[in-house]
Amino acid sequence: MRLRLAEGTAPVLVVLVALLVGLAIAGPAYDSVEGYLALLKRAAPLMILAIGQYFVIVSGGFDLSVGALVTAGVVIAARMIDGQESATAWVILLVLAFGLLVGLVNGLIATKLLVPSFIVTLGMLLVLDGAVFLWTGGAPRGALSEGFRQFGRGSVDVPVLGEVPYSVLILLVILVAAALFMRSGTGRALVATGDNDQAVSLSGGRVDRLRLLAFVLSGVLAAVAAILLGGFAGVSAQVGEGLEFRAITAVVLGGVLLGGGRGSVVAATAGALSLEALFTLLNLLGVAGALESAVQGVIIIAAVAYAALGPRTRFRTSRQPAPTQ
């Protein structure tokens, strides 16, 4: 395997390194490995969501339902486990299966009923949010078991690095698997689908099946993120709020083209880490919480504008978002 950076990866890595250097200067906690591991641990759920979102975006769609899906996953887990340690294993399977099911429904409606994915997943967001509140009456009941929370908070002793959080290990496994997948034939076909689905279809690719796969992967990864967030942040009906936009932002920050066909999964993940590092840095610098979103807004626009106007961009007509089809 040649080691080369995929197209569009370099800018986000530069941004990431700059942010990490900034962290090292600004915060005393970031002069050791633990500080960075803690950052990774905090960022892991968003990075996993970004990987899922990447699959959907690169194949030419959107998944707006992941935030609601994370909330649903956490609320379901808390209600089903209800503090019982013995229930942990099957509830984890249940949450993953639920994510898979939601992804499957998203994908089937988008591909078979030809509804733009923006609308499908927006509808799914409304349905999931409504259903969660309907089921819980606004205040989630039940509690997670200690075993369940281990994934989000626990850590394991690794030589050299010290205590490595489980969530970081899970993230690494998923990231490596995703990167390998994107190098496989199916992964390449997925990107090609986002670029020109007719060409893929004419050359024998199964466009519908590829898109369906992207939504299913996004759903399952959102469920994984829900398991990590449930342990890390605890149970609430707001745990997934706004995560869909944050994940999309992360992916775009990683240089992935909305509309599909361009971008690498590693860069998308780096985008998510950059976003989290940015939040941390803003906190350290004492930027008031309220202004944080304004800074975030400016930076997103700047990053995308840089990607669009940057020196080495190839000519490409900048289509407005054309979700699927």
């Binding site: 409606i109 009923l113 030809l114 509804v115 733009p116 923006f118 609308i119 499908v120 927006l122 509808g123 799914m124 967001l125 409304l126 349905v127 949010d129 409504g130 259903a131 509140f133 309907l134 936009f245 999309i248 932002t249 775009v252 909305l258 509309g259 008031a288 919480g289 309220a290 202004l291 944080e292 979103s293 304004a294 800074v295 975030q296 807004g297 400016v298 997103i300 626009i301 995308v304 504008a305 669009a308 106007l309 007509t317 900048s318 289509r319 407005q320 978002p321 054309a322 979700p323 089809q325």
Partner: protein, 334 residues
């Protein structure tokens, strides 16, 4: 590059009815009628009346603010863009209007004008980021939304400003069961309909949404069209903010986001049969979509249904409607 008076062959907004064509616009109004009948029957079974004075008032009031935002959203979506900043903009303009008025009758006109000017500037920024910085509309308007949010969160903790009593008439006066503001909203919708279907810039909107490259090569100033669309969209959201300020008696920073106007307005537009990718659809359908959402809400309130159930139904209605339209599109163009 001089704009030539050549008519641009855009997709005609309303396909000429050869026979009785079942266009999305027709479907959405049929659905509205069916919904009104079903709603009336259901509410009737529980011993109430859906379409009495109070019910109609309720439907129209709900439709007014969302309608204003959705009219603007229609124009940007038709150009193939979209605007995620409207929800915060509604809050911002309500504050600008109420704070400028500060309870004085004499400041009503300056308050309204200033709010609309602020809205126009935000629209201009949206448009410039998209056309000059070449940022994707989704990200550009999301970024602007975040900036507005930061400003609102930094400067306001709750309602501010004071709307004089005279101006509150705008929010509460009505002719029979129909609020004056709803009629104004419909008048703005009619103006937009005229703009989109009868004026040259309106045709350019469809041309740019249909295929931006083809439009550009045919001499349409695509940048200017997108800029105009975004300014109009933001001004429409500004009207919504002013209306809400007059109803609430003050400006409220989160009045737009609490109502999820960003996603809700996109839902209304798409429900009305406008293609999310742009180039096809129109304001008439959007108004139908807005009234469907308002009627659903009012019916559920009358039935005392759990408010969260509304979201579930709304999601299902949205997906079903678009699936239906998609089916019809396939029949037309393989």
């Amino acid at each position: 590059m001089q704009e030539k008076p050549l008519p641009v062959r855009a997709t005609p907004p309303e396909p000429r009815t050869r026979r009785f064509a079942l266009t999305p616009t027709v479907i959405v109004y049929l659905a509205l009628v069916v919904l009104l009948i079903v709603g009336s029957v259901l509410v009737g079974l529980r011993g109430g009346v859906l379409l009495d004075q109070a019910g109609l008032l309720n439907i129209f009031t709900r439709a007014t603010a969302l309608g204003l935002v959705a009219i603007g959203q229609t124009i940007v979506i038709l150009t193939g863009s979209l605007d995620l900043s409207v929800a915060y903009l509604v809050g911002l303009t309500s504050l600008v209007a109420a704070e400028t008025m500060a309870g004085q009758d004499g400041m009503i006109v300056p308050g309204v004008l200033l709010a609309l000017a602020v809205a126009a500037v935000v629209g201009l920024v949206n448009g410039l980021v998209i056309t000059v910085l070449k940022a994707n509309a989704f990200i550009a308007t999301l970024g602007v939304a975040l900036i507005l949010r930061g400003y609102l969160e930094h400067n306001y903790t709750g309602p501010a400003g004071d709307v004089p009593r005279t101006f509150q008439h705008l929010g509460y006066d009505r002719i029979g069961p129909i609020p004056v503001a709803a009629l104004l909203m419909l008048a703005i919708a009619a103006a937009c309909w005229w703009f989109l279907t009868r004026s040259r810039p309106g045709y350019h909107v469809y041309a740019v949404g249909g295929d931006i490259e083809v439009a550009r090569l045919s001499g349409v100033r695509t940048r200017r069209t997108i800029l105009t669309a975004h300014v109009l969209c933001s001004v429409a959201a500004g009207f919504a903010g002013i209306y809400l300020a007059s109803r609430l008696g003050s400006g409220a920073p989160y009045v737009g986001t609490d109502a999820v106007f960003d996603l809700e307005s996109i839902a209304a537009v798409v429900l009305g049969g406008t293609l999310l990718a742009g180039g096809r659809g129109g304001v008439v359908g959007t108004i139908g979509g807005v009234f469907i959402l308002a009627t659903l809400d009012t019916t559920f309130d009358a039935l005392a249904v759990d408010p969260f159930f509304k979201d579930v139904v709304r999601g299902v209605v949205l997906i079903t409607a678009v699936a239906l339209y998609a089916r019809r599109m396939v029949g037309r163009s393989p």
